[in-house]
Amino acid sequence: MLNKEVAVVGGGPAGLTASIELAKRGVNVTLIDENLQAGGQLLKQTHKFFGSEEHYAGVRGFNIAKKLIQEANNQSVDFLLEGSIYSVYEGKILAVKKGKSTQLISPEKVIYATGASEKVINFPGWTLPGVMGAGAVQTFVNQHKVLPGRKFTIVGSGNVGTIVAYQLLQAGAEVTAIVEAAQEVGSYYVHANKAIRSGDIPIFTSHTVKKAMGNESVDSVKIVEVNENWQPVPGTEKRIETDVVCLAVGLRPRTKLTSLTGCQTTYSSTFGGEVPLHDKSMETSINGVYVAGDVAGVEEASIAIEEGRLAGVSVASSMNYISSSTAADQKQEIRNRLGLLRGGPYGEEGAKEKERIRSIFNERVTRRESRSVKR
């Protein structure tokens, strides 16, 4: 068994910034990610990101990853890549699989920054080759420079759907439609507009997929209008020729490991599903187990960056690498920046939801205190 001070699970923006903050303050930290390279979702993003300077705004996603990895290397973060955590024992003992070998790591503290996974919707034909998630499409097109088809129909008009539409146009594909069950386009105006003005893409709001059709793989998709109760309206079916039905219907926090650990959760539709309860310092209901980024509620990379920093500072302070007063100041600065990011009609919802999660935490989670008192 490998004894470590801190293990950070997940090498996306949240895991990277958490590790950097820890290493900067002299903590011995191991960053574990299942991929060949750290960076998480950022590696697939060829577009420039929003935010402000502290969040590498205006920089393309994959370049933000490069910058963070370099910073982590400068701070001597210990990387364990191609290492997948497949189980957790006794709260904090991590079982890692790398290649054919497995290993146990026993850290004093753990930060889970495992990100999110894609949601899917089912319809007749959804198992045909050619029906795939937006993440898979991005991996093909943006990372491996291969188009998995010529014509694409995108299901979902949130930021992911409209961004993927634009990236597909850049790659030379045709986007035959964006299909959205809600009455309005869900993404930021600027993302939607840059896609439709680059490709004259028909947007079918109040529509959903009825069926994907084809013999060996998808050759067309049938869509249908839905009423206010999201029920199909008979007689409104349309058939669209397409090679790929790309599902961009949302993300859900990847909470398998925090659940195995026994962290208490709450359901949050705003944040994509079950979310581990956490306090203002990103600590969960289990002592010494922290979360940051999309696993703590699906939001944005800029927020993941700040939450990672917050978790990093919190852990460093709990291990006495910095005084609690220094930590309090540093945490406040980060929270102020988070407050600025969570403004406006899109961000406010996140701010309220974090508040709600914290109040549930405060109501329910007394176990930590009582346990430490008993000791």
């Binding site: 935010g51 402000s52 930021y188 105006y189 003005r197 004259d200 947007i203 709001t205």
Partner: protein, 168 residues
Amino acid sequence: MKESQEEKAALSKDKLFELPGFPDKEELESGPVAVIECPEEIACNVCEAACPFGAIEIGKEIIKVPKIDPDKCVGCGQCVSECPGLAVYVVDLNYTDEEALLTIPYEFSPLPKKGEIVTGVTRKGEKASRVKIVSVDKKENGTPIIKIAVPKSEIHEIRGILIEEIND
């Protein structure tokens, strides 16, 4: 699409003219100036940071909608290339008697060539008049900016180009 749905993907001119990033008529006539078509409160202030002349204001609350100061703007186009939303353009109404000069971001390859005639595309993605490429500036950040000469009557509609072979 119904009107309200359309507005979520391509704003009407009336709505755009009301934005703090949209200079008024007089300001547009007095020389090249940035027009910022970024209508929502989103957490972003890249344009403000990008402008070397301090002509774009968002402020500490980075979710505020960007505001243009036409007196300070020289129409250099730096913000056009830097905006991650590709939502900023430069409009010069005094290019020729009939034509205005429009600066747009363009992230597609191949890039058009100087002097080439291409199809103008509106903010809704519809084809418009044929337009001439006046200059192409590949930028280091990967978002080239292109200047195109467009009919004055379409200066508030055309926001992109389509390179297609047509015998004009």
